[in-house]
């Protein structure tokens, strides 16, 4: 079955440092979405990437979709304490209704 892996599982950074999480799928994806889950909360949609090689930015967050549409990354520049949470990628194969979530990366930002 489809698997979506993320690395690292955990990341501790000093406030102001950069952070990157990587997402890899065992199958080619039609699109990939990124979500953020604050501690004790529910996942909240951040962004979607559809095109091969696509790059999107949201303030300090940069999202990339690989050329082969099997991997993606999220990079946060100059982390802040408000960035704390678990970041999930979620992928869908062509024509599928279900969305498979990655294993998530839990980010801790040390003030």
């Amino acid at each position: 079955g489809q698997q979506v892996m993320q690395i690292p599982q955990y990341q501790h950074v000093q406030e102001g440092e950069d952070f990157t999480t990587y997402c890899n799928s065992s199958t080619t994806l039609s699109n990939i979405q990124w979500y953020k889950q604050r501690p004790g909360g529910h996942p909240v949609f951040l962004i979607q990437l559809v095109k091969s090689g696509e790059v999107k930015k949201q303030k300090r967050l940069t999202f990339q979709f690989g050329e082969a549409k099997k991997n993606s990354s999220l990079h946060i520049t100059a982390t802040q304490t408000t960035d704390v949470g678990t970041y999930f990628c979620a992928g869908r194969t062509s024509g599928a209704n279900n969305l498979f979530f990655g294993t998530g990366t839990r980010l801790t930002v040390i003030p």
Partner: protein, 112 residues
């Protein structure tokens, strides 16, 4: 915009007892609906999804079942809970083609 209502927020149930979690959706019609489970500190496991009334797809064989009696109502059930059923249950709506998922606030279930 969509609003996902889930209740209860927390639940403690003994092993062997039944379970019924309800999810209702506002702000959209004919949504795709999903049940996910998240074990403590873990990722999201897709349990069931539905593309319409009475249409349920199961991703993981287990002692849970789902039903969709109305367009915007999705129910997760069990006849007899196991300890391993403990977790954070999340209902979500949307996800049609390229649309994002909107999650409810979740139910934290502890089976004792």
């Amino acid at each position: 915009s969509q609003t996902i209502h889930q209740w209860p927020a927390t639940l403690v149930q003994p092993v062997g007892s039944p379970l019924s979690l309800e999810c209702t959706v506002e702000g959209t019609s004919n949504p795709n609906l999903y049940w996910y489970r998240q074990a403590a500190g873990r990722g999201l496991q897709l349990l069931f999804y539905s593309v319409g009334i009475g249409q349920i797809s199961s991703e993981v064989p287990q002692n849970l079942s789902a039903s969709r009696p109305q367009d915007r109502q999705f129910i997760l059930s069990s006849k007899k809970l196991l300890l391993s059923d403990s977790g954070f249950y999340l209902c979500a709506a949307g996800g049609y083609l390229n649309s994002p998922l909107h999650f409810g606030n979740g139910t934290r279930l502890t089976v004792t």
